[in-house]
C-alpha cells in the first residue's frame, strides 16, 4: 500500500511541473509587469528602472525567469552582489520560489499571495464539503432506489432529472433561485457567507440559510452524477453469484438489496472523489461570483480583473495541486475499500 501511494506521488511530479510550466507560459503572454507597477511614479529615473528590472530579473529569458519563480532567487545572492540586502517585504523582496510556498506578493494588496489564498480557502472548502455531503446523501439513495425499481416510474423520472441537471447552466439556475427565493419570496439571503461585514463569520450551523442556494446549485450536477453511477453499479451487482445465493436462501428482498447489493455497489463510488473535487472547484468560480461567496473562486475573478498575476498563478497552481491530490486520494481509497485490488 505504502509502495502504491509513493508510486502515485512520483507519477504526479511530471504533472506538477507541467502545470507550473503551462500556467507560467500563459502568464508570460500577459500585459503588465511588476517593474512598470513599481515605477508608476513619473518622476522615477531611468537608471532606477534598469536597476529594478535587473534585480527582479524581468529582462532574463523566460526559462531563467521560470526557474526563478520555481526555486526562488535567495541563493543567487552568492553570485550577484546587487541582489544582496533586499528587504523581506515589498514587491522587490527576496523570493523563495513556489516550491517553498512563496508565490510572491499580490500586486494589489502587497501581501503574500499564499496568505491571501489561505484566508479564502476555508470558505471554498466549506462550500465543497457541504456540496459533497448533500450530493452523496441524496445521490446514492436515489441511485439505489432507481436500480431497485429499474424500468419503473421513479427510475425514468430520476433519469430525466439527471439529464436536465447536467444540462442546466449553473449561473442561470443561481439567478433563478435568487430571483424566486431572494427577491420575490424573500426567505433566503441573496448572497454572502454571513450577515456580518467585519470580523469573520459565526460557526456554520448559525448561518445555514446562506448555504442553501449555493449548495443547491453546486450539488445538482453531483446528485445527477452519483445517482446514475450508483444505479449502474447496483444493476451490475444484481447478476452476481452472491446475490443469487442470498435470494436462493430466502432472504427478504430488502435485505438482499440494501445489505448485500448496496454495500458492494458503493465501492466504485470511491473513484468519484477526484472528479467531484474538480467539479466543486470549477463550479465554485461561477457560483461564488453569483452569491458573492468569499472563496477562492471569487478571489480569482477579482484578481483577474485587477491583473494581479501572483494571486492568479497561486490559485491556479493550488487548485491544480488539490485536484491531483483528490485523484490520488480517490484511487487510494478505492484500493482500501476493495480488497480485490492488488498493487
Amino acid at each position: 500500500m505504502i509502495k502504491y501511494i509513493i508510486r502515485r506521488l512520483v507519477q504526479a511530479i511530471p504533472t506538477f511541473f507541467g502545470i507550473t510550466l503551462l500556467s507560467y507560459l500563459i502568464m508570460t503572454a500577459a500585459p503588465g509587469d511588476p517593474v512598470s507597477l513599481l515605477t508608476f511614479d513619473p518622476t522615477i529615473k531611468q537608471e532606477e528602472v534598469q536597476r529594478l528590472a535587473a534585480r527582479l530579473g524581468t529582462n532574463d529569458p523566460w526559462p531563467v525567469q521560470y526557474l526563478r519563480w520555481l526555486i526562488g532567487d535567495d541563493w543567487m545572492e552568492i553570485f550577484r552582489e546587487d541582489l544582496r540586502g533586499r528587504p523581506e517585504i515589498g514587491l522587490d523582496r527576496v523570493r523563495y520560489g513556489i516550491l517553498r510556498g512563496d508565490f510572491g506578493n499580490s500586486f494589489f494588496l502587497k501581501l503574500p499571495a499564499l496568505q491571501l489564498i489561505a484566508e479564502r480557502l476555508p470558505a471554498t472548502l466549506e462550500l465543497g464539503v457541504a456540496v459533497l455531503v448533500v450530493s452523496l446523501t441524496l445521490g446514492i439513495p436515489i441511485g439505489i432506489l432507481a436500480a431497485v425499481w429499474h424500468g419503473g416510474a421513479f427510475d425514468n423520472a430520476t433519469r430525466v432529472l439527471a439529464v436536465i441537471g447536467n444540462a442546466v447552466p449553473n449561473f442561470w439556475l443561481g439567478l433563478i433561485l435568487i430571483l424566486i427565493f431572494g427577491a420575490w419570496l424573500g426567505v433566503l439571503p441573496m448572497g454572502g457567507r454571513c450577515a456580518q461585514t467585519r470580523g469573520g463569520c459565526p460557526p456554520v450551523y448559525q448561518r445555514l440559510e446562506y448555504l442553501v442556494m449555493p449548495v443547491t446549485v453546486l450539488s445538482l450536477g453531483g446528485i445527477a452524477g452519483y445517482s446514475r453511477y450508483m444505479r449502474a453499479s447496483m444493476l451490475e451487482q444484481i447478476n452476481s453469484d452472491y446475490i443469487r445465493t442470498a435470494k436462493a436462501k430466502g432472504l427478504p428482498a430488502n435485505m438482499v438489496w440494501f445489505k448485500h447489493g448496496a454495500r458492494n455497489a458503493l465501492i466504485p463510488i470511491a473513484t468519484f472523489l477526484g472528479p467531484a473535487l474538480v467539479g466543486v472547484l470549477g463550479g465554485a468560480v461561477v457560483t461564488e461570483q453569483i452569491f458573492t461567496w468569499p472563496g477562492l473562486g471569487l478571489l480569482l475573478i477579482t484578481s483577474i480583473t485587477r491583473q494581479d498575476y501572483p494571486i492568479i498563478m497561486a490559485s491556479v497552481v493550488i487548485a491544480s495541486v488539490l485536484t491531483i491530490v483528490g485523484y490520488i486520494l480517490s484511487d487510494v481509497l478505492y484500493a482500501v475499500v476493495d480488497p480485490r485490488i492488488r498493487f
Binding site: T15, L22, L175, Q289, T305
Partner: protein
C-alpha cells in the same frame, strides 16, 4: 466492424482506389441511421436544434422584416419594457434594445462558437488519438503527459486565465475552446485505436502491404465514426455551457455583441425590475444543451448492436 473490412478486398483494391463498389449488406452506419430515424425523442431533439440554428441564421431577416427592430439600437427611453409591449414581443433590455432580436443574434454567436469549437476540438482529438494510438512510443508518452497536465487544472480556471490574458474576440474564443477541449476525445479515440490496431482486418491489411496512412484512413477511421459523432454531440452541449459561463462572467464574448451568456451578466442588478430578461437566455441554453445530450445518447443507442429489439 465487418463492413469496413470489406472495403479492402484482398487483391482487388489498389492504393488510393475508390472505397469499393456498392455494398450488398447494410453497413454499420446505414443501420445506425435507420434506427436513428425510428428514435422519436432523438428526432425531436434534432428538429429543435435545426429550428434554433435556422432562426439564428435568419436573425437579420427576422428582426428587420418580421419584427421590424434593430437588435443593436439602444433607446434608454424604452428600457425594461415588459413582455407583449407594442413593437417588442419579448420586451426590451436595460438599454432599450429588443430582447427577442438580441436572443436571435445571441443564438448566432452561441451556437456558432459551440459548433465550430466542437468541430475543431474533435478534429484535433481524433487526429491526435489515432496517431498516438497507432504509433505509441515517445509521442504517445508526451501526449498522455500533456493530457494529464491539462486535465489536472480545473478547466474553468485555465479558460479564465487564458481569456483574461488574451481577451479574445469570437474567433479567438473558438480557438481557445477548441485547443483546450481535445483531451477527452484524444483519450477515447486513442483507446479505441489501440484495440483496433490488433484486430484481424488491420493485421491482414498490413500483411498485404497497406501503408500506415491507408490503414489509419481506410481501416481505423471508419470504425471510429460512432464514438466521434457521440463525442461531437456531447461536446457541442458542453461548449455551449462553457461559453455561456465564460461570457456571463465577462471573460468570453464582450458586449455589445450579444451571446446567451453575456445577456445575463447584469441580470442581478435589474432582476427585480425586469425578471422576464432572466428567463429566456437561460432557457435557450438549457434546451440546446439538453437536445445535444439527447442526440448524443440517441446516436450511442443507434450504434449499439445490443440495443436491437
Amino acid at each position: 466492424m465487418a463492413s469496413t473490412s470489406q472495403t479492402s478486398q484482398p487483391g482487388v483494391v489498389t492504393l488510393g482506389a475508390e472505397p469499393g463498389k456498392p455494398r450488398r449488406s447494410e453497413s454499420l452506419t446505414q443501420r445506425a441511421l435507420r434506427r436513428l430515424r425510428r428514435d422519436r425523442l432523438t428526432m425531436i431533439a434534432i428538429s429543435v436544434i435545426l429550428l434554433l440554428t435556422f432562426l439564428a441564421i435568419m436573425a437579420p431577416v427576422i428582426s428587420t422584416q418580421i419584427l421590424g427592430v434593430d437588435f443593436a439600437k439602444a433607446n434608454p427611453v424604452n428600457a425594461f419594457l415588459p413582455i407583449n409591449s407594442p413593437g417588442h414581443i419579448l420586451g426590451t433590455d436595460d438599454l432599450g434594445r429588443d430582447h427577442l432580436a438580441r436572443l436571435l443574434y445571441g443564438g448566432q454567436v452561441s451556437l456558432g462558437i459551440a459548433f465550430t469549437a466542437a468541430l475543431l476540438s474533435i478534429g484535433i482529438g481524433v487526429a491526435m488519438g489515432v496517431v498516438t494510438g497507432f504509433y505509441g512510443g515517445v509521442v504517445d508518452d508526451l501526449v498522455i503527459w500533456l493530457i494529464t497536465t491539462i486535465n489536472s487544472i480545473p478547466s474553468l480556471f485555465l479558460l479564465l486565465i487564458i481569456s483574461a490574458v488574451l481577451s479574445p474576440g469570437p474567433f479567438g474564443l473558438i480557438m481557445v475552446l477548441g485547443l483546450l477541449g481535445w483531451t477527452g476525445t484524444t483519450r477515447l479515440v486513442r483507446g479505441e485505436t489501440l484495440s483496433l490496431r490488433e484486430r484481424e482486418f488491420v493485421v491482414s491489411a498490413r500483411a498485404l502491404g497497406a501503408s500506415d496512412r491507408r490503414i489509419m484512413f481506410v481501416h481505423i477511421l471508419p470504425n471510429l465514426i460512432s464514438i466521434i459523432t457521440i463525442a461531437l454531440a456531447i461536446d457541442i452541449g458542453v461548449l455551449i455551457l462553457v461559453e455561456s459561463g465564460l461570457s456571463f462572467l465577462g471573460f468570453g464574448i464582450q458586449p455589445p455583441i450579444p451571446s446567451w451568456g453575456n445577456m445575463l451578466t447584469g441580470a442581478q442588478t435589474f432582476m427585480r425590475r425586469a425578471p422576464h430578461l432572466v428567463f429566456a437566455p437561460g432557457l435557450l441554453i438549457l434546451i440546446t444543451v439538453l437536445c445535444m445530450y439527447i442526440i448524443g445518447d440517441g446516436i450511442r443507442d443507434a450504434f449499439d448492436p445490443r440495443m436491437e429489439s
